[in-house]
């Protein structure tokens, strides 16, 4: 759906925000673009949406070049920006209708009503935007982005500063959109949301895409599982007999942590437990943890 080839962006200050980005977004998927602050996420979205000019490279949306064929390309895109940019004095209805007109769509009050109802904004349709809460303003931005029935939706930090209830509502709207065939690209700092929502994940750091992977594959490849044993007696050092097992002492010697790959043919759990028994090390409780997308993300970014 979106094809980004050798895209670079250097600002007038000389700062190189994007370095030779190559990325393919598949039709109908939810793609999560993750990266620390200043990594280039918003610059990348800005270029695809036409707000910023690329320095090098090409971008096409459903085969339409974003510069040579900008009308066709932009008609397909809806953008929910990170900042709450709204026309304070306009009513909700007027601003959403304005957005629809900007994107060359004829008036369709029934459709606008449908969006406002889906986003729980119908009761506020005649309210001035300045009277709305931050969360409601965020909904208005989503309504504006959806007003022209886009095929691609960019959500740049859509849940920043939004309460739990609204987040749930918004993700339900996103799921419904995906079900209707809309391609969704989202950036978020709440990585658990990306883990929950995304089909694929891209990680950008210092202007470079460092990883693009199917989320399940990524979790499989990079995800680790840990078995934590709470010991009955504190250990000062790990006995040499246990050195062959992937064990580490934690919490001042009161816990043993065993790290293993759940997908491996032999996880080594049985052998490790036998070795513990042979060494007369007893434990009073145990628990397991699995690394989250956030752990994977932090690991990837900190490696660079």
């Amino acid at each position: 759906m979106i094809s980004i080839n050798n895209l670079s962006k250097t600002y007038a200050t000389g700062f190189r925000a994007l370095k030779n980005i190559n990325l393919e977004i598949k039709r109908g998927e939810i793609f999560a673009l993750l990266g620390p602050n200043g990594a280039g996420k918003t610059t990348l979205i800005g270029i695809v949406c036409g707000i910023l000019k690329p320095s090098e490279g090409t971008v096409t949306v459903d085969g339409h070049d974003i510069i040579a064929d900008y009308r066709a390309a932009r008609s397909l895109i809806g953008l929910v920006p990170q900042e709450l940019h709204t026309d304070a004095f306009e009513s909700v209805w007027a601003t959403v209708s304005f957005s629809r007109g900007l994107f060359n769509k004829p008036k369709n009050p029934a459709y606008v009503e449908k969006i406002l109802r889906a986003l729980s904004l119908w009761d506020k349709k005649d309210n001035r935007i300045m009277t709305l809460s931050g969360g409601m303003k965020r909904r208005v931005l989503i309504a504006k982005a959806l007003s022209h029935e886009p095929q691609v939706l960019f959500l740049d930090e859509p849940t920043a500063g939004v309460d739990v209830e609204l987040r749930k509502d918004m993700w339900q709207v996103v799921r419904d959109l995906r079900a209707s065939g809309v391609t969704i690209i989202l950036t978020t700092h709440y990585i658990e949301e990306a883990e929950d929502m995304a089909d694929r994940v891209g990680v950008i750091s210092k202007g470079e895409i460092i990883l693009v992977e199917d989320k399940a594959e990524l979790m499989h490849k990079l995800g680790k599982k840990q078995l934590i044993l709470q010991l009955q007696k504190k250990l000062d050092v790990l006995p040499p007999a246990l050195a062959a097992h992937n064990l580490t002492l934690a919490k001042d010697g009161t816990e043993l942590v065993f790290t293993y790959d759940t997908q491996a043919e032999r996880t080594g759990v049985t052998a490790m437990l036998s070795a513990l028994s042979a060494a007369d090390i007893r434990f009073r409780d145990l628990s397991t943890t699995q690394s989250s997308l956030e752990d994977i993300f932090v690991g990837l970014v900190s490696e660079r």
């Binding site: 600002y11 707000i51 009308r71 004095f89």
Partner: protein, 254 residues
């Protein structure tokens, strides 16, 4: 194919803004101009003899209308495009399938419409104060429309150039208003000493006021043909600058 719906959406948005601020946008300039009529037309004007056979109160009508047209067109158009840049809502215009021409039609069209309406209201008001006759109604309207469009384009350029509210005000307040006052709003440049008459010709507003006054009374400081030519020249210059802005993305797109 042009996206006229987008131009229409911007136009309606801007006109709605005017409607919301009717006291500031319409009532205030009309009241200010009426005060000029009272002070210069009735109070002081009664002690001034006719200028080239025209009652002084009537003589200043074209200049006063032009003063309103120039300042209001510039300020309204500059604010129209600067405000979304200031609040950040410009992102939506930039990401929409809309060309520079359509953006300009929306903002400049609305600012010019407002100025034309204001000009006509002031003209209608002036009939209450002074005896007035319009010799060339077509040319009067042509000057009214062309000047409104030209200075709305100038305002649009200022709104894109400005990076603060002070810059937004500098040109209308420190350049356009003085040039209008010195451009023959309240007097015929023929009363000036010869040297100042020549210097005045470097003031572009002289041509606008002179041409506009000719359409009322068939009297002018410079030939009305030159006035029409100069008005079209200013229009062409402003159009060229706006075209360049959208070609390069100046101050709109990094």
């Amino acid at each position: 194919m042009m996206n006229l719906r987008a131009a229409g959406a911007i136009y309606k948005f801007e006109m709605a803004r005017t409607g919301r601020t009717i006291w500031q946008s319409v009532v205030s300039p009309v009241l200010s101009t009426s005060l000029y009529f009272v002070v210069f037309g009735a109070a002081i004007g009664s002690r001034i003899t006719e200028i080239e056979g025209v009652n002084y109160g009537a003589f200043i009508v074209p200049g006063l209308i032009m003063l309103t047209l120039l300042t209001q067109s510039t300020m309204n158009a500059s604010f129209g495009i600067y405000f979304p840049r200031f609040t950040g809502t410009i992102y939506e215009i930039l990401s929409a399938p809309i060309s520079g021409i359509e953006i300009a039609i929306g903002y400049v069209g609305a600012a010019a419409t407002k100025s034309i309406i204001l000009g006509l209201i002031i003209l209608a008001t002036s009939f209450l104060f002074v005896p007035l006759h319009i010799a060339h109604p077509f040319w009067m309207l042509a000057f009214l429309v062309l000047t409104s469009i030209t200075f709305s384009l100038l305002g649009f350029i200022i709104g894109i150039w400005a990076d603060g509210f002070e810059k937004l005000q500098i040109i209308p307040l420190l350049i356009i208003t003085p040039l209008t006052f010195l451009g023959g709003t309240f007097y015929s440049t023929s009363v000036l000493p010869p040297l100042w008459q020549k210097i005045t010709l470097f003031n572009p507003v002289v041509y606008l006021i002179s041409g506009f006054r000719w359409s009322f009374f068939e009297i002018s400081d410079v030939s009305h043909t030159v006035s029409i030519g100069m008005t079209l020249l200013f229009l062409a210059i402003c159009l060229a600058v706006v075209w360049w802005i959208f070609k390069t993305g100046y101050k709109l797109k990094n």
